[in-house]
């Protein structure tokens, strides 16, 4: 017999844990799913919204240019983000991230590349939404970061 009845402070601690756990498990998906204060439905992570979204697909092309010149590959792009390629387009899925998060990621990436390289090139991320693009968003979005930042 290895079980022990729950008594005393253990019982109080377990009760507190149960209440906290259930509160979090009930409240978090609710506020994720329904925007406060409008209570409008939205898709969000941590909302148990499985198979709930037409998953947007996009292609992103990373390259650099100098002046009005041709697009050139970004050297050692693998060092910055493992698995990325340049300058060919990379097909991607926005499986669990929003359009804003995709844009923010690549905007930050080109700024980071320009800051790190300091070679006079302008670093470009060109995103083309292919399937189920976010409502109201342009099909092609481009982020640039040059020597001036």
């Amino acid at each position: 017999m290895t079980g022990r009845d729950v008594r005393g402070w253990r019982r109080h601690a377990a009760t507190a844990f149960i209440v906290a756990w259930l509160s979090v498990q009930i409240v978090v998906p609710l506020v994720q799913k329904f925007e406060i204060p409008t209570f409008r439905y939205r898709w969000a992570r941590f909302g148990w919204a499985m198979y709930s979204r037409l998953v947007p697909r996009y292609e992103v092309r990373l390259f650099r240019v100098r002046g009005g010149g041709e697009a050139e590959p970004i050297p050692n792009i693998e060092r910055y983000v493992r698995g990325y390629r340049s300058p060919e387009p990379m097909p991607m899925l926005a499986l669990y991230v929003s359009e804003d998060e995709v844009h923010d990621r690549f905007s930050r990436l080109v700024s980071y590349l320009a800051r790190e390289q300091r070679d006079g090139y302008t670093y470009v991320a060109r995103i083309r939404w292919t399937d189920y693009p976010p409502a109201g968003a342009p099909t092609v979005v481009e982020f640039r970061a040059g020597p001036a930042g």
Partner: protein, 424 residues
Amino acid sequence: MPGPRASAGGEADAGTDRGAGWFSLVPAYRLATLRVCLAVATLAFHVPKFNGFIDRYVGSAFHVPPALPLIPPLTQGGGAVLMILNYVAASGLLLGLGPRLCAWFLAATGFYVIALDPEHYAHNAQFHLTLLALIGCSSDRVSLWRLIRAKRDSGDTCPAWPEHLVRIQLSIVFFYAALDKVFNPHWSVSGTLLATLGARDHAFGLAWLQSVNLAVIRAFPGAISVLTTALELFLAVAFLVRPLWRTGVVVAFAFVVYLEFLLRPGVFAWDTLAALFVFVSTADQGWRIVYDPQSRACRWSGTILARLDWLRRLRWVPADDAVRVGHAGDEECMRLHLVSPHGRAYHGFNAFRMLPIILPGPFFVVMVLARFGGGFLGSRGYGPWYDLPFLVLAGWLLLWVPGVARFVARLVYAAAARAMVRTG
């Protein structure tokens, strides 16, 4: 051959823990079985996946900011340590060595990795980590060795509240999944999302079933959408209402197996199946196995079955006693002979095909290994190994064909006989 086991003891109402309060003691084997099954899924899928995230993260110089500013970034050395510790913790969880610490460690590092980059998030990962955290609350203290030991008692107990939390968690997940479908314009009564669903390519046979399934979905997306929502709502209720548990388990099993094999495979199905263990009977020794203490074959098969009886549902009855009480004839002691808690007898082939139902833990482990081992081989171009778990499941279901055919034939015969009597 295992001898008669000790009873569960006075404190726990073993096997019949109906209406167990949150802090009363229940048999520990449900949570121990759930822990082992989760650990196998963790070792086969979760740890390789999350270690892949860690490896990619520390191998990249650029990162997006973490979800919260207080979350420290992961360094190269820290990442390597974390990857090793993930395997150590998953192994500890499987073996039952410091299982609570291991489960909480895996859950905490998993949420940390998710917080590092939103692209690490997945619903199935969140569900797996949630279950790991809940199993970290269990004080079952039944190690893997103790679980599979042939000679053991069935008196291990633990507090009931982690089991209750797992049941409520399942209900919450299905409730919110249903709620999402009610408000989501792509589901609701339109079924837009269903009409766009693709399925993973499978080999002949399963592929045919999938194409039929997709054709039906695309023909009636609105109806299937409403049906899915209703089904998820039913499951959310069934997991909370004790009289509906049995139906809920059967419906949930059919639903997630359907998702896994006919739509898109994922870890969610396997974690849900593992969590269903908290609804099954345990330590009741309600299933009796008739054995001949003099027979070597009987002793051998008994030892194997005892090791697979993680939920402590089997009781061994010597053949002489069984003959005396009318459950077996002399010649039947050579074959597998099972008697259900309701007194229904199963012999030989019929008994054999019942085993995965009575011993679901080992069957689940076999299926998980087939699923993720098959996926591993398939992803490396060794052939359609993705279908391995389907073949195992189909093989088991095929064992039921003769019985089902006999049952249908009996119904048809009875209906025909009634019709003939009526028409004179």
